[in-house]
Amino acid sequence: MIDIEGRLASAGESWRAAQPGPPEPDPDRLDSRRHNRWPMAAAAAAVALVIAGTVLVLRSSPRLVTPVDPSTRPSATGSPVVSRPPAALVVRDGDTVEATGIVRAEPGNPIYFCSPFGASVGDQPACTAAIGLPATGVDLNRLTHREEHSGAVFGRAWLRGVLRDGAIDVIAQAPPREEPGPWHLPEVLKTTPCPPPGGGWRGSIDNDAIQQYVEARASRFNGIGISRPAPGVEVIVVGVSAGDVPAAQNELRAKFGPNICAVIVAYTAAAQRRARTAVEQLMRDGEYWIQGIGCACGFTPVIVQVTMLNQRSYDLLQRIGFDQLELWVWLKPVP
């Protein structure tokens, strides 16, 4: 007799454990509803983007893929965090490190400190040796968002400590600091990066058809997203990785209608696929503190969520190519 109930419960638990943390509410998106100022915001964005569009047109050339220096590249996710070059994020034994994260304290086990953007089991954060580090010297009475699950105490804190033999010896503790997570919509999809066509944005679009068209031409296109210039209006943003952007836009509009906006992107589908496959292999190996991987492909580099960047992980990721990767590192060395 098959234990359907047990298998479903177990499958559900496994699935939940593999889910990334939820997004934080986006105040900008709420704010746009609060003041009902969508049309104004859209108009302002359009003005700014006409200028950007002009630049894109002028810059468009048969070869558009340009290597990006990761030390100067702003975060592709639009994160307000000042990014540091990957080399500056490498931690070594004896380094002072810091992060905001989840603390898990359970009788009989070490206290663990984990990324707040990790998996969860039910409503309970998953904070184990696989994705966190043991921490000594944590003041459990000063944790915020304290809750208990099955005898374990969970809470949040900002901790600074010295890394010794894979554990953190805490030297300072404070309330959690607001830090953006690794997964965000790219800036290019938050607005509509093209001026509206002559007759304005109108009608709807067959997403499936355009998706198939773009995927069948992966040597020229990479990335497809939806932007919303006004309530109820959707514009498909297509990344052009090679070729002439205005010509590509005309081609797509002739086939699929006016609500298409073509933009230049710096990443080809083939290069992103290679980078992604290589990082996934490292992630499967499970020894490099790589917690997650994803991208708004075309519009962002491949984003790699790293718990802690040690020299070994750095060397392997560098070999894959930092021109294709954006590292989101949780536990950072104190500069």
Partner: protein, 168 residues
């Protein structure tokens, strides 16, 4: 009027976006899981943000006497997930994020079997077993009575039994 004022206060109507964010934060994990489960090809975070924007816009209509905040937010999320699924945007990304651990074989087998269920039965299984909702929350998402959820779950399990036998 009384309920509107009370509900408005509950969701930070007078206090602003920050209070609203604090109010919804405990429900975000379930909202995100529901979005991921009901619209697997869509951008999960975009579905959640759209649901939050809807909830913010309609916050003065929330009445705690008619249901919990959790049920209200999850129903809105389910509505947004349905819209996203109809669009099947498969937009850049975030839905492509892969996070450890990888699914064990049994999970894959069950996922295959679930695809053969009628839509309502699959939805009940998704909400209850995978998203981890209560029967009451599942009823809010599905827009039906709790008893209907229980019978739908029972029907789904009965239908899954022979399907999963094939995978063992």
């Amino acid at each position: 009027v009384t309920s509107t004022v009370r509900a408005g206060a509950a969701v930070g109507l007078s206090s602003g976006v920050t209070d609203f964010a604090d109010w919804v934060r405990p429900h975000l994990p379930a909202m995100a899981r529901l979005a991921a489960r009901l619209a697997p090809h869509a951008d999960r975070d975009d579905v959640v943000q759209e649901a939050l924007a809807r909830a913010w816009a309609k916050r003065d209509r929330f009445d705690e006497r008619r249901g919990s905040a959790s049920a209200w937010l999850l129903a809105i999320t389910a509505d947004q997930a349905a819209k996203a699924r109809r669009r099947r945007p498969r937009v850049a990304g975030l839905s492509e994020a892969t996070v450890l651990p990888a699914a064990p074989d049994d999970v894959i087998d069950i996922e295959r079997a679930l695809r053969q269920l009628p839509r309502r039965q699959r939805m009940a299984i998704d909400c209850y077993y995978f998203v981890g909702l209560s029967v009451a929350e599942t009823a809010a998402v599905m827009g039906c009575a709790e008893g209907t959820v229980k019978s739908t779950l029972a029907d789904a399990r009965a239908r899954l039994r022979p399907l999963l036998r094939g995978f063992t």
